[in-house]
């Protein structure tokens, strides 16, 4: 059941990314590029996505997940430097190429070589993060000593 629901959720997500044009890097960069020929499509996508999710959060107050367990609690960690720095790095990469993780996955089969190169680099970045943060922590410990 858990696997089937995950497949359905992923299917809806992938179909949504495809029909909304969010795997078209020109549309995404067109939205981010407020100094150029601005394209408002992404606002419709985000607005459309927020509606069912807001209803879902409301329903989640009174219902448990279908497969059991608990609805995730709101994050306890505050808005911290890690969140802001990570989002700044992500946003820079998003602006450069026009792909964020969802569309990067959805477009793998039809985007051509460029999408595959981007995806591999993105996965490398995801794997590298623990190594980078560990090295940074080690350096600051050495500096403190």
């Amino acid at each position: 059941m858990r696997i089937l629901l995950a497949l359905v959720a992923g299917g809806l997500f992938g179909a949504g990314l495809f029909v909304s044009g969010m795997t078209d890097t020109a549309k995404v960069q067109g939205w981010l590029d407020v100094f150029g020929n601005w394209d408002p499509t992404l606002a419709f996508v985000l607005g459309g996505a927020l509606l069912p999710m807001a209803v879902a959060w409301r329903l989640a107050r009174a219902h448990r997940p279908v497969v059991g367990g608990e609805i995730p609690q709101p994050p306890t960690s505050p808005v911290d430097a890690r969140l802001l720095a990570g989002s700044a790095l992500f946003g820079a990469g998003w602006g450069l190429v026009g792909l964020c993780p969802g569309p990067a996955i959805a477009s793998l089969t039809y985007g051509g070589t460029g999408h595959i190169v981007f995806f591999v680099a993105m996965v490398a970045g995801m794997i590298l993060l623990p190594l980078v943060t560990r090295a940074a922590a080690r350096r600051s410990t050495v500096a403190a000593e």
């Binding site: 629901l5 995950a6 497949l7 359905v8 992923g10 299917g11 809806l12 997500f13 992938g14 949504g16 495809f18 909304s20 795997t23 078209d24 890097t25 100094f35 499509t41 419709f44 985000l46 607005g47 459309g48 996505a49 927020l50 999710m53 807001a54 879902a56 959060w57 989640a60 997940p65 279908v66 995730p72 505050p78 890690r82 969140l83 802001l84 720095a85 990570g86 700044a88 992500f90 946003g91 820079a92 998003w94 602006g95 450069l96 190429v97 792909l99 964020c100 993780p101 969802g102 990067a104 996955i105 959805a106 089969t109 039809y110 460029g114 190169v117 490398a124 995801m126 590298l128 993060l129």
Partner: protein, 142 residues
């Protein structure tokens, strides 16, 4: 004037939100693309690997099924390998550092009025705009 792209954006957006609603109310999980993929590739989500793989399979499969209706899709991606690799590394590192991307922080976080979700979204939108200001309008490389 209503651009048909805006209608398709809205339709696609609703589908994305429905995906998030199914994942939340069905499996009790937040639908974040970077977290689902990241937990799989760095090994931190090994215990839920089946669920993660099923989700990712759905994301890849539906565009394949819809593609024949569209013929070919031009995604207008840059051919500059340095930009592709730098952008990919930044997106991978940044989303894992921030613990979320456009789907997790933007769609799921903002819809529950999470301060972290809203803060992350403001920052990555601003950073994206700034990157284009510098690298498109300034340096002309993207």
């Amino acid at each position: 004037m209503i651009d048909p792209d805006w209608i398709w954006g809205l339709v696609g957006g609703v589908l994305i939100g429905l995906g998030g609603a199914v994942y939340l109310l069905g499996n009790g999980r937040i639908m974040g693309a970077s977290g689902i993929l990241g937990g799989l590739v760095d090994g931190s989500g090994r215990r839920s690997a089946g669920e993660r793989l099923a989700f990712l399979a759905g994301v890849v499969l539906l565009p394949v099924l819809l593609l024949p209706l569209y013929g070919t899709v031009d995604t207008h991606i840059t051919e500059n390998a340095v930009v592709l690799i730098a952008g990919g590394l930044l997106v991978g590192l940044g989303t894992r550092l921030a613990n979320g991307c456009t789907s997790g922080h933007g769609v799921c976080g903002m819809s529950r009025l999470s301060a972290r979700g809203i803060a992350a979204t403001v920052v990555y939108l601003a950073a994206g705009g700034l990157a284009l200001l510098i690298f498109r309008h300034g340096l002309g490389v993207v």
